[in-house]
């Protein structure tokens, strides 16, 4: 009891008074304006665990918001889906407050605030909320799950492809909800954005608004405390939507930077993946089939890239893959259990948020450098090696072409097909975009 008493953080009367009087003249103890956000920095995978070479690369993030640090880490697991939702996976969030961070964090069972934070990532203490939310988003955005497909004799076996064999797929993220916390102080006019630990101890009420960059309100959490006027809430939401835009931009920039960095570093990793593939495909008939199929796709693709016309390349790629693409597509759509949403529904939108921007330079960079590197290393077996070496790059493009196909075929089906929840959620402009994309292509 005594040690517990000593470990709790206490606010002195002096601090309480000072924070309130300083706020009356618009001063915050860390020198910010009342409506100013703390400094945000985001790091990913390699940067977080600098020497780790294995699976920790994707889907981990470290976010620093002022002095609040949050590490996010995404893992996946192949599970049987719920019977009533056969084509959807589940997403659960676990939180942990390390006792190393603060003496008031006890090891063992997650405390009340840990549970609150974990339940929905927009509730919590010490303004972990905002930082944890960003960490989770950043980690999810860079996470890629291993591809899986149905195989075996009766077509019922699930095959998990190791990352060396097929490039892991990114998750489908429709939009990025950003949590912004406001603190209200006893005299009603005082409101601050992103309160610090001290301010949280003093303030009379708190409200967390979760918005995306388009200004859509996803959630609002107002856990007790003082009542707030409607006009104040509207003001908060305006401020929050502005902040959400800024943060979304920061997250996307960080994700882009990380992906290009990863694409560059991929070249170095190559020799290892070659050997692994050699072993893998030796015993696996299916692997060989994929190989030849993908080889075709690649040669076609590289030719098209030379022409510098992206639309054309995608179109021809889709047509070239027609026969095999079809079967593969059905495999894919039948099997995605873990991704949260399936190809059938979410496929077309996987296009939208950011994948489009990445892979053009990603592919160019990787293809260009490949051509340079390969002949130097193995001058006598260029012809044989090339397909295998190109292989790791291929699947995303391949899959994309598949999803393009779905998009095309879905466009007709969707109109009268049964609507799901996903359809209701999707913002209008995305559909317009998609429609125009289809129009462009045809």
């Amino acid at each position: 009891m005594d040690s517990r008493l000593a470990n709790t953080w206490r606010l002195t009367v002096n601090e309480r008074k000072f924070i309130e009087t300083a706020l009356l003249s618009g001063i915050r103890i860390d020198g910010r304006n009342p409506y100013e956000y703390r400094k945000l920095s985001i790091k990913f995978g390699r940067q977080v665990l600098a020497h780790s070479h294995t699976c920790i690369e994707d889907g981990s993030s470290e976010v620093q918001l002022g002095q609040t640090h949050v590490m996010g880490f995404v893992t996946c697991q192949l599970l049987q889906p719920y019977r009533d939702r056969p084509n959807e996976g589940t997403l659960s969030i676990f939180t942990e407050f390390s006792p190393m961070a603060d003496p008031s964090f006890e090891p063992g069972r997650p405390g009340e605030s840990a549970v609150e934070l974990g339940r929905i990532i927009d509730r919590g203490l010490r303004n972990l909320v905002d930082a944890a939310n960003i960490a989770a988003l950043a980690a999810l955005l860079t996470f890629r799950r291993p591809e899986c497909s149905l195989g075996g004799e009766d077509g019922q076996e699930v095959i998990l492809h190791p990352p060396e064999e097929r490039e892991p797929l990114p998750l489908i993220v429709h939009h990025i909800p950003i949590a912004v916390t406001f603190g209200f102080f006893s005299s009603e006019s005082i409101m601050v954005i992103d309160p610090t630990h001290h301010e949280e101890a003093v303030m009379a009420g708190r409200m967390t608004a979760t918005l995306n960059a388009n200004g859509d309100v996803c959630a609002i959490q107002k856990p007790g405390g003082e009542g707030v006027l409607q006009s104040v809430i509207m003001q908060c939401l305006r401020l929050a939507s502005r902040t959400a835009g800024d943060i979304t931009k920061k997250i996307n920039d960080a994700v882009e930077a990380y992906k290009t960095e990863q694409a560059v570093s991929k070249i170095k990793r190559h020799p290892a993946s070659i050997t692994l593939e050699g072993i893998g495909s030796g015993g696996n008939v299916k692997g060989k089939q994929n190989l030849s199929f993908e080889h075709k796709g690649v040669s076609e693709l590289s030719r098209n890239l030379m022409e510098r016309s992206k639309l054309a390349s995608e179109g021809s790629c889709a047509s070239q893959n027609d026969g095999e693409g079809e079967t593969k597509l059905s495999e894919l759509s039948g099997n995605k259990r873990d991704g949260g949403s399936t190809n059938l529904v979410g496929g077309p939108t996987s296009w939208d948020p950011y994948s489009k921007g990445v892979d053009s330079d990603f592919l160019k960079a990787s293809l260009a450098s490949r051509v340079k590197v390969a002949p130097e290393k193995k001058p006598d077996s260029v012809g044989e090696r090339k397909p295998t070496e190109l292989k790791p790059e291929e699947p995303p493009e391949d899959n994309k072409s598949a999803s393009m196909k779905i998009e095309a075929s879905e466009a007709g089906l969707r109109k009268d097909g049964p609507k799901t929840l996903k359809d209701a959620v999707k913002p209008k402009h995305k559909r317009k975009k998609k429609a125009s994309a289809v129009a462009n292509k045809s």
Partner: protein, 240 residues
């Protein structure tokens, strides 16, 4: 005697030591008393280190290990800033950032009797001296100096308190005034109380001064003396 030169105190003083290092061998001290401070412990004839830090030696016979950390280990004769947690009949219970709360006897004030017990509300900030710090016991505090005078001990009114590491608070108390305070003091007027437990109390006429000074102090933790001066100059230019 010469063979033991490597374990003689001179070789370890002002050096970085880690837990387990044996810094002194008492068998070579025949009729000499030494005083051990925080981070050192005696195993028969060997004095070994319990925490990582720098071994310090003060002229006649005092040895201790100095390190910078966010948790405070009470040590006698330290002056600290405490927060009153509870008022009992005989003691105030005070949080001094240590592993256990400390006791401040109600009579440990200048001229303290049963009649004139001061009234502290819960959450009051007081400047106190550690009198006893024995392992297994709650530390005992006093609001007087060794001769029973109140000097500057007691309640701190208004102002703002923030927490730093113990290393920074020791730097703020160093005897040629540390560059941050020196530079800030040339242009701003403020009142400061630094406890060895890493708590710093500040007061000034305007809240903005307090915010500037507190942030300058917190930023100076990892800076060299010259960097501290530059940082403060830049800061003062910006707020003008």
């Amino acid at each position: 005697m010469e063979a033991k030169a490597s374990t003689s105190p001179a070789s370890f003083v002002d050096k970085i030591v880690v837990p387990g290092d044996v810094v002194l061998d008492l068998s070579s001290f025949t009729n000499q008393t030494i005083k051990l401070g925080g981070g050192l412990r005696q195993d028969c004839d060997a004095i070994s280190v319990m925490k990582a830090g720098k071994l310090q030696f003060s002229k006649p016979n005092k040895y201790w290990v100095e390190s910078s950390q966010k948790r405070y280990v009470p040590c006698t004769e330290d002056t600290v800033l405490g927060i009153v947690v509870d008022c009992k009949a005989d003691n105030f219970i005070v949080d001094i950032k240590g592993p256990a709360t400390a006791f401040l006897p109600v009579l440990a004030f200048e001229g303290g009797t049963r009649r004139n017990i001061p009234k502290f509300e819960v959450g009051a900030l007081i400047y106190v001296r550690v009198v006893k710090a024995n392992p297994g016991m709650n530390p005992e505090l006093s609001c007087t100096d060794a001769s029973g005078k109140a000097v500057e001990f007691g309640l701190l009114k208004d102002g703002f308190m923030f927490e730093t590491s113990t290393g920074l608070s020791r730097m703020l108390r160093s005897s040629p005034t540390c560059p941050v305070l020196e530079e800030l003091g040339k242009q701003l007027s403020f009142e400061i109380a630094v406890g060895l437990n890493g708590r710093v109390w500040l007061n000034a006429d305007s809240p903005s001064t307090v915010v500037v000074v507190s942030n300058a102090i917190m930023n100076s933790e990892s800076l060299s003396e010259v960097q501290q001066k530059i940082m403060v100059e830049k800061l003062l230019q910006r707020i003008k």
